[in-house]
Amino acid sequence: MNHLVVKTKGRDGKIFKVFSDKQVYELPTDLDNPKPYNSDYKLEDDEWFYIPEFSKTSFCIDFLKKKFISTDYAQMSDVKIENLHYLCSYQTGVYFFQNVTPSLIIRKKWFKFTDSPVLEDNAPIITINDRADAIYIKSTDTLYFKKLAAITTIFKGIIELYKEATQAETEDFLKSSFIHIENDYDSSKVKTANRKRIALAMETFKNFSATQKKTIFEYIKEYCKALPFDAKKMMFTITGEEDLKDLLWGIEQRYYTTPIGNEKMVANSVSKID
């Protein structure tokens, strides 16, 4: 049987049952080709991020670890609408989560468009999105989601996945031997997008051998004509965010040339072909 429950906000937030026997969400048909989470990856419309073995991660909530038993939860009554944290629809082994944001709550006057309409005033309603923010399939122990930001309040600590270089890491990176900074640019001026790229690039760069590094520099030089490169000192001159972005994309090998037309391109989002 399907059940809809709500969780209230706060440290002692509780779970209440709303109603049963209703199918609130449809299971998406495009869960078969999920991608591991990467903050830099842009999902296609039919793609989902996933976390396998979710119950073993530190951000899995207790609610998902134990069995779902609807009779364990009290019926919702006297719960203030602004106190709602998220909705969860349990549908035969699949949990659909939806964060309750103010935009889902409608406080206007409304009436049901039927034969006997009654004007409702002061009766706020909650709208349900077509697509859940996160889907957890118990049998495969996998969490699927599209936007990490939407579920960070549901699964505490999941924000860790959204890796961003810290101030110290950014400073370290800018001090790398192959970077020369000009034009008063420094680590405090590096914005979030580039910090995320730094976090990734540092991982990639660490695994390169000396020859591979040389290859990468040649590759970047080839594609980023605007980025000044000193071949003797093996050094790029970075004057601002744009330069840094070009360099970081280079480290991730985002540049390519089309086989037909020979055009130089940059990939906005990349994923491995298995």
Binding site: M1, H3, K17, F19, S20, D21, K66, K67, I69, S70, T71, D72, A74, Q75, T92, G93, K138, S139
Partner: protein, 187 residues
């Protein structure tokens, strides 16, 4: 709102036998028309008794309108029961019922009965877990305490005979209150 009225109705059903016992004790007969005056006293007693039975039937029909719930076996194919412990509770209501009957038998005046009945009604209503209505037993319903695998105890009214927690599968429950559920899934 329906839920509130339904709970009042259930409370009325489970306490109404007090009034029946009192009427029998006071030997109050139904004022039959002259043609039926040959009927013996106990005809009236049987009719008094049938009223709560009838109301209990109605309450069972109305329970279909309550919110659904379920305690079915796991959906993951393995079919593991969600119940850890089962305890029969048919006899748990006997002491309180005997209490009701003794009260009804020893109350001297009608006014006292009304007062005692109101008190019992209020307490039964607020005790929540105790919608024990022995008339359910006559209609083949049983009372059980079930403990779920998450260690939460509930009270269940069902026609099924529950014995082994591993075999318990209750896909069609109705919620009377947060602790009391009634099974509509047949035997």
């Amino acid at each position: 709102m329906f839920n509130f009225l339904y709970r009042l109705f259930l409370t009325l059903n489970s306490t109404s036998l007090i009034i029946v016992v009192f009427l029998v004790k006071e030997k109050i007969n139904i004022p039959w028309p002259a043609q039926l005056s040959f009927l013996p006293y106990y005809t009236a007693y049987i009719i008094y008794f049938l009223v709560p039975v009838f109301l209990t039937f109605i309450s069972l029909l109305l329970s279909n309108l309550l919110d659904s719930d379920s305690l079915e076996k796991e959906d993951d194919g393995k079919g593991i029961s969600k119940i850890m412990e089962v305890e029969q509770a048919n006899n748990a209501f006997l002491p309180s019922y005997l209490g009701y009957f003794f009260v009804a038998l020893s109350v001297p005046y009608f006014e006292t009965l009304v007062f005692v009945f109101i008190l019992l009604f209020i307490f039964t209503y607020f005790s929540q877990t105790l919608y024990f209505n022995p008339l359910f037993l006559i209609i083949k319903y049983q009372f059980y305490y079930l403990t779920t695998t998450n260690n939460i105890k509930i009270f269940l009214i069902t026609k099924k005979e529950l014995k082994d927690p591993k075999d318990i599968d209750l896909p069609k429950l109705k919620r009377i209150n947060n602790f009391t559920f009634i099974d509509k899934g047949g035997r």
